[in-house]
């Protein structure tokens, strides 16, 4: 990085770019969460670098099940995120591990109304955390206990108990209750993620 780059980074003109992997079972709300985090109007944030012209940078109206994965970009106050929004369907889950290496953080989305598949989510989380590319790195992991607006939704404490999150000792983690349709709870989570990515890098 040249001096100019560093300077602009300090001044906040050019934001540091990080790669984040967004994982979770199908129908947990990954694409909706990413979509909510994108600016509703492009002109607010200005154009991103030329490399990402082909990626849609504004919110879409309709969300359909993801096939394979999507690449999305959004910005927080001091970071520019590139998100790999992976499909959560079981046949695509083996794709996840290809992207572990280049990611700086993980967002793991859980449908807190889906009591039945909580064990599946736990299993996927365990395999993720035990993967060779993940195990040794201190990646921050952000959990979204999504769909908290549902009446049958479990509380955040219950979700973290079911996923045995207290057993994660070697990574910083954080869990947020969220309602992706309304966008509640998402910013708090991203703020935490941003703080941790910054401290991790420096």
């Amino acid at each position: 990085m040249g001096l100019l780059d560093k300077l602009s980074g300090w001044l906040g003109l050019k934001k540091k770019e990080v790669n984040v992997l967004c994982l979770g079972l199908d129908n947990s709300g990954k694409t909706t969460i990413i979509n909510q985090l994108k600016p509703s109007n492009q002109s607010l944030f200005g154009p991103l670098s030329d490399d990402w012209k082909h990626v849609s940078q504004t919110q879409t109206q309709d969300i359909v099940p993801t096939i394979g994965f999507n690449i999305e970009k959004f910005k927080s106050s001091s970071l520019s995120f590139t998100v790999f929004d992976m499909s959560g369907q079981s046949r695509y889950r083996n794709l996840w591990e290809h992207y572990y290496k280049e990611s700086h953080a993980i967002i793991f989305v859980i449908d807190s109304g889906d009591k039945l598949r909580m064990v599946v989510a736990k299993e996927e989380l365990d395999t993720l955390l035990n993967h060779q590319d993940i195990r040794s790195r201190r990646l921050p992991v952000l959990f979204f206990a999504n769909k908290s607006d549902l009446r049958e939704a479990m509380s955040l404490v219950k979700v973290s108990q079911l996923l045995c999150l207290e057993n994660i000792k070697d990574k910083p983690w954080h869990i947020c209750a969220s309602n992706a349709v309304k966008g509640e709870g998402l910013l708090e989570g991203v703020d935490w993620l941003q703080d941790h990515i910054k401290t991790m890098k420096t």
Binding site: S148, D149, R151, E152, A153, S155, L156, V157, S160, L165, E166, I168, K169, P172, W173, H174, I175, C176, A177, K182, G185, E188, G189, W192
Partner: protein, 716 residues
Amino acid sequence: MEINLNRIDYLQVGVISQKTMRLLPALGRKATQKVAVADHDGVITCFGMKKGEAVPVFKTLPGQKITRLDLGGALGTPQEKIFVCAGSEVKGYTKKGKQFLSFEANLTESINAMHVSGADLFVCASYIYNHYCDCKDQDYYLSGDKINDIVCLPAETLGRIVPVLACQDRVLRVLQGSELVYDIDVPGPPSVLELYNRDGGTNGEDILYGTVDGKLGLIRITDSSSSSKWEIDNEKKKGGVLCIDTYDILGDGVKDILVGRDDGTVEVYGFDSSNEPTLRFEHVLLESVTSIQGGCVGKESYDEVLTATYTGWVTGLTTEPQQAEAGPGEEVKMSQETQSKVAALRAELDQLQMKVVQGREKYQQTAQSSTAVSAMPVFSVNDKFTLCQDDASYSLTLEVQTAIDNLLLQSDVPIDLLDVDKNSAVVSFSECDSEQPKGNFLLVTYRCQANTTRLELKVRSIEGQYGTLQAYITPRLQPKTCQVRQYLIKPLSLHQRTHTIEQDRPMNTLSLVGQFSFAEIHSWVLFCLPEVPEKTPAGENITFYFQNTFLGTQLEATYCKGEGHFKSDNISTISILKDVLSKEATKRKNNLDISYDINDDSVGHTLKMIHPKLEYQLLLAKKVQLIDALKELQVHEGNADFLIPEYRNILDESAYLLEEYKKQPAHLERLYGMITDLFIDKFKFKGQNVKTKVSLLLEVLDNYDLDSLMNFFNEA
């Protein structure tokens, strides 16, 4: 479906009455609603929630105690005008707090129930119902017993005005104009009425009622008749219903019923596919819930049940999840909101402590002055003394706005105090000397644990022994003061008002003739029997029906000026009445002509009524004797298969039997007492004194057999 509701406390106002908190209609579809609540200081507070903080919209100046709050407005527009009644005056405020109406109803008593519908205003004082349209008097009705609540079927759906009064004598009175159309019997004294679905259902004819003894029901009121659609009994002996609302909190598309009770229970009843109400959620707030509403206050798009309790706490039970964030090792970490709340409270407390210390010093100094008078702090006590139908005992509940320090009970009649599981207070019985004239039969102190604002006691009285029960209540206030409450234990304390009695039972009659007025004899009856209206009934004569809650025997009281007839199938009841009435009449120097007509069959009839109870108690005692031995056998053999079915049955039910047996000695004693009284009374009417034979009777009772007992009664 299950729901989880989380409790959030919003704001505390002064002590509040029943139905004095309402939610104003939301402006947008999703926006949060404002709350209007009125307290005993006469202050109406209207507030909304913003980021966990209560932001006041307006607050009025203190005035007279506000007894009701209702929302109204022109028909067809959002009902957002706030109406309150204080004293005999009705005031109206806009949602911004501007007073636009002040209407003096010119009643001698204060208004205790009110309903607003468009330009129509319906108010009730204790016995009076009044209907005003645009503040002009329209209709008037005088009820036979106290009016607890009023509701009016929606005029816009029905096209006519149908007010329904909930009266203390277990009746809903349906009016038209100033005339009674018909009345509906309900299973208990109704305490609250509410339109089903807030608009009376599809036909506008359905109303929900709740009773003082905790029952709920839905009734359809049509032109000339009514039909009960469902009823929920109060099997778990929860408190009386104080407020009801209809709101879809479960989110299943069907409106649910929200109920608040005087023991702090908040319940949500949902409807399943067969349209029967079922309990879906229950929460206990520890203070009586005076108002309940469904809506959205704390955070938009999260529904909640908003409640207001007696001490003025406005509390929400919300569907919103409480904890929004967590991380490793943060199990005990408080959320930002809680932390700031704690800090704010701490600062406030420090400030107050300073002020109080200063104030106390000043007080101590002025207390030395010889001319100054020390004033007492006034506090309100919400008390209830009611007869429970199913265990023939009285329940006394006392509620104070601050925590109770201790309670002293003093009685000049023999009564039993029973344990109440809910109570955490420490009881100590003091020895008392009942031999002395004016001696106490009972002296009990309850020392309450911290933060007890409500105390429930059970009192068991004996028929015929009458007097007063006094309660001295000391709350945790400085300077410590005490308030005394008096409760009458009436001569026929176990009798309850009913609507009808069976006429074909063998009846004993007591007739009184003399120079007394209608009001005089009514006051005597009021002295003798519970649940009689204090006001002398209108008309020339009156008939009341009663039922003994313990034995099921009946009493019919018919009286008019100069004449009174009392009919009962129990000789003891007649005997008590005769004693008390003649005593009362002599006190007032009235000359009474008492005659009685005793039906000999009635004794046998009463004994037959007692028989199943006595037999049950004796059988219970027998079974309980065997439990220990049977248990030992079971332990030795490993199982109970070798026992005869009868014994195996006892083993299976042992826990239940032991629990019942704990209450048994009192029951058996009570039954023995009643039989002895019956025996003495029977012969007293014949002019014989058989007190010497009581020991023989007790012997017969110890080897109980119905036939031998009957023989003993006939021979002796």
